[in-house]
């Protein structure tokens, strides 16, 4: 899920994706997005390397967004496609090696995709992740999360790139792969907001009090659930 580093602040390669395509993807996603306000969304395919950039206003404080992104033992909360996850022995101090196994499906083609990433928290508070190709189904992959406090909410920028190291049937094509990547990223943003809000709420008052106040037991389930986005808005 996490990608880019060298591409940060650089122009995305293959920025040849037409506005029409972007809006087609966005319109397909937006009815179910449920997350904060989308500020920017770019997705491109540069000869088999897929790049994505998303900037979104997330309705949760920055420290909770960061806490959720670095809660590696609960990383499965951020993406419903994850079927296995875990923390592997760290290769060096200050680096978390995180493994995820996801089931990726595009049309009729499903594949289990393994990804091992080395994640670093930078001095700036940003997060940088680099795929370990030898342990992953990717030739390369990088990501960067930039989380900025913006009043009571956060501005979250995600820039990532990845180069799959597995066969994708030509019939599926770049369009569907990109659409799937876009969906996965947006889904992760929805969950990120939901989980960060839930954690912030539980920090303010213990769950017992939340329940006693009549807040539904699943205060954020609706937000996390694709079928009922935005219930707390």
């Amino acid at each position: 899920m996490l990608k880019t580093q060298a591409h940060h602040n650089a122009k995305l390669p293959g920025k040849t994706v037409t506005c029409t395509l972007i809006w087609l993807i966005l319109s397909a996603l937006s009815p179910r997005s449920g997350a904060g306000d989308l500020i920017d969304f770019q997705l491109s395919d540069n000869g088999g390397e897929y790049s994505v950039r998303v900037v979104m206003a997330v309705y949760a404080p920055a420290r909770y967004v960061r806490a959720v992104l670095t809660d590696y033992t609960h990383i499965y909360r951020l993406n419903p496609s994850i079927t296995e996850s875990g923390i592997l022995p760290s290769p060096q101090p200050g680096v978390a090696r995180v493994r995820t196994l996801m089931q990726g499906c595009v049309l009729f083609f499903c594949k289990d995709i393994e990804r091992v990433e080395d994640v670093r928290e930078l001095k700036s508070g940003d997060l940088q992740a680099d795929v370990v190709p030898a342990l992953s189904n990717f030739r390369s992959g990088h990501a960067k999360w930039v989380i900025q406090q913006m009043g009571k909410i956060s501005r979250v920028t995600y820039e990532g790139s990845m180069q799959p190291d597995f066969f994708i049937p030509p019939i599926i094509g770049s369009f569907f792969v990109k659409r799937n990547i876009g969906k996965e990223v947006m889904s992760s943003f929805r969950r990120l907001e939901c989980v960060a809000r839930a954690r912030a709420q539980l920090d303010r008052q213990p769950y017992r009090q939340v329940a006693a106040d009549g807040i539904p037991a699943v205060a954020c389930a609706g937000q996390c659930d694709d079928s009922n986005p935005g219930c707390l808005k």
Binding site: Y72, Y76, S81, Q103, P206, R208, A221, Q223, C224
Partner: protein, 125 residues
Amino acid sequence: MSPRSCRYVLLLAGVVSGCHTAPQVSYRQDVYPLLQHNCLVCHSPPQGAGYLKTGLDLTGYESMMQGSVYGPVIKPGNSRHSILNMLVEGRADASMRMPRNRDHPLTEQEIGILRLWVDQGAKNN
């Protein structure tokens, strides 16, 4: 062998033997007793540690299907993507394996029952 264990064995035997019609798992007869024995000490309101931490209440079918404050934990028909199954099977990080604070994880038999029940639609039967 207790009647419940006997039922588990029969249920799993049906699956393992490759029967095309898997035996129907019952929430009331198979799943709830298992949850009661392994999970309710923490996932019960008002004082259970797991309940207080996540809001997950496993004392009833409805509350279980509602999930935790972080969202649903069961995806009917799909045990692979159900968080409850992930956690009891140890597919999330090993430190997250449920039930926590117990000497032993669920048995393969119990894990199989939960998996089958979810794959059969997680019905309130």
